[in-house]
């Protein structure tokens, strides 16, 4: 019996440029790399038509997921909580990705969310400055995970909005509302121009002075 070791599912994927690419997390289940950047989807679905209800009401939802499969799954998760319909007796009519209208413009995003902590459910409002809404949502998930140890399944996004600068509530976003913003970079991060040139040992200590 010859064991085929060529399809080694447990090898680390080659590290990619994108620092947000945490595909090593998925390498045990998907042999192919994928990025965990969030995409916004519009999912439209309804219950299956039956004798009692020929034309069931159609529901539309906008949500964030890393891919379409997960988006449809999340759609049923939410719809189950709102109506008596499950994936087995319903159908998804359409799923479309929603793209950022102005990805070169910086906006202040406010995100209202409901999350489950170890002791109960809480509501939260967070603000982020970013060029795209997907970027802000990803930032939010990362921040919730780091600050509150809350993972993706335990977070529900209630609402997102682009906030004009005057109405921002958080100091961390308000401090960048300055058209003559000016600050120095305090120390220089010395790193080789590509990961290939990285070495474990260096001949001399780096000069961090800017």
């Amino acid at each position: 019996m010859i064991r085929d070791d060529t399809r080694n599912r447990f090898s680390f994927p080659k590290l990619v440029e994108n620092p947000r690419d945490r595909s090593f997390l998925a390498s045990w289940c998907f042999p192919v790399e994928y990025s965990v950047s969030f995409h916004q989807y519009q999912v439209v679905g309804r219950a299956l038509p039956s004798e009692s209800d020929e034309h069931p009401k159609i529901y539309r939802m906008k949500l964030w997921a890393t891919n379409e499969v997960r988006a449809k799954s999340k759609f049923w998760y939410f719809l189950r909580k709102l109506k008596k319909v499950k994936k087995s007796n319903g159908q998804v009519l359409a799923i479309n990705e929603i793209f950022e209208k102005s990805p070169t413009k910086i906006k202040n995003y406010g995100i209202w969310l409901r999350y489950q902590s170890r002791t109960g459910y809480h509501n939260m409002y967070k603000e982020y400055r970013d060029t795209t809404l997907n970027g802000a949502v990803e930032h939010m998930y990362n921040e919730m995970a780091s600050r509150h140890r809350v993972r993706f399944p335990c977070i529900q996004i209630i609402k997102t909005a682009t906030i004009p600068a005057k109405l921002c509530k958080r100091e961390s976003s308000k401090q960048f509302h300055d058209s003559h913003i000016k600050f120095p970079l305090v120390f220089k991060k010395v790193r080789p121009p590509s990961r290939k040139l990285k070495t474990t040992y260096k001949a001399s200590r780096p000069n961090l002075f800017m």
Binding site: S173, S179, P193
Partner: protein
């Protein structure tokens, strides 16, 4: 020792990591503490982490988030390209690029030129030694 190079709107930076390595870009707006909105005449305006930028001494006069045409005009007015190529940092990079792109014949010519230069220096040194001896 106060700081001389600031992250500000109009600051020219050199990209030192990633896809746009080696490009001169202008900071057009600041997103947050780690990222800036960055633009150059030959690229789409995008966000970039400060870790990927090395600030230069060059600063151009623009308002927050200018149109592409205004940006290009301001870069021409401030003569960024010439200032960069005449600065010691810019010159060093040009020389590095030239050295990296030498072919074998060029390296041979370089070797001969170095030997010649060394010979001339040694002759002068010998003259000076004779004078002082």
């Amino acid at each position: 020792m106060p700081f001389k190079r600031y992250v500000e709107i109009g600051r020219v930076g050199l990209v030192n990591y990633g896809k746009d390595y080696g490009k001169l870009v202008v900071i057009v707006d600041v997103i947050d503490q780690n990222r800036a909105l960055v633009d150059a005449p030959d690229m789409v305006r995008s966000q970039m982490n400060f870790k990927r930028l090395s600030l230069t001494d060059i600063k151009i006069d623009i308002k927050r988030v200018p149109k592409k045409k205004t940006l290009v005009a301001a870069m021409e007015a401030a003569d960024v390209r010439n200032k960069w190529e005449n600065s010691s940092w810019g010159r060093k990079l040009i020389v590095q690029k030239r050295r990296a792109s030498l072919n074998d014949f060029d390296r041979f010519k370089l070797m001969l030129a170095k030997i010649k230069r060394g010979g001339v220096i040694r002759q002068e040194l010998a003259k000076l030694k004779k004078q002082s001896a």
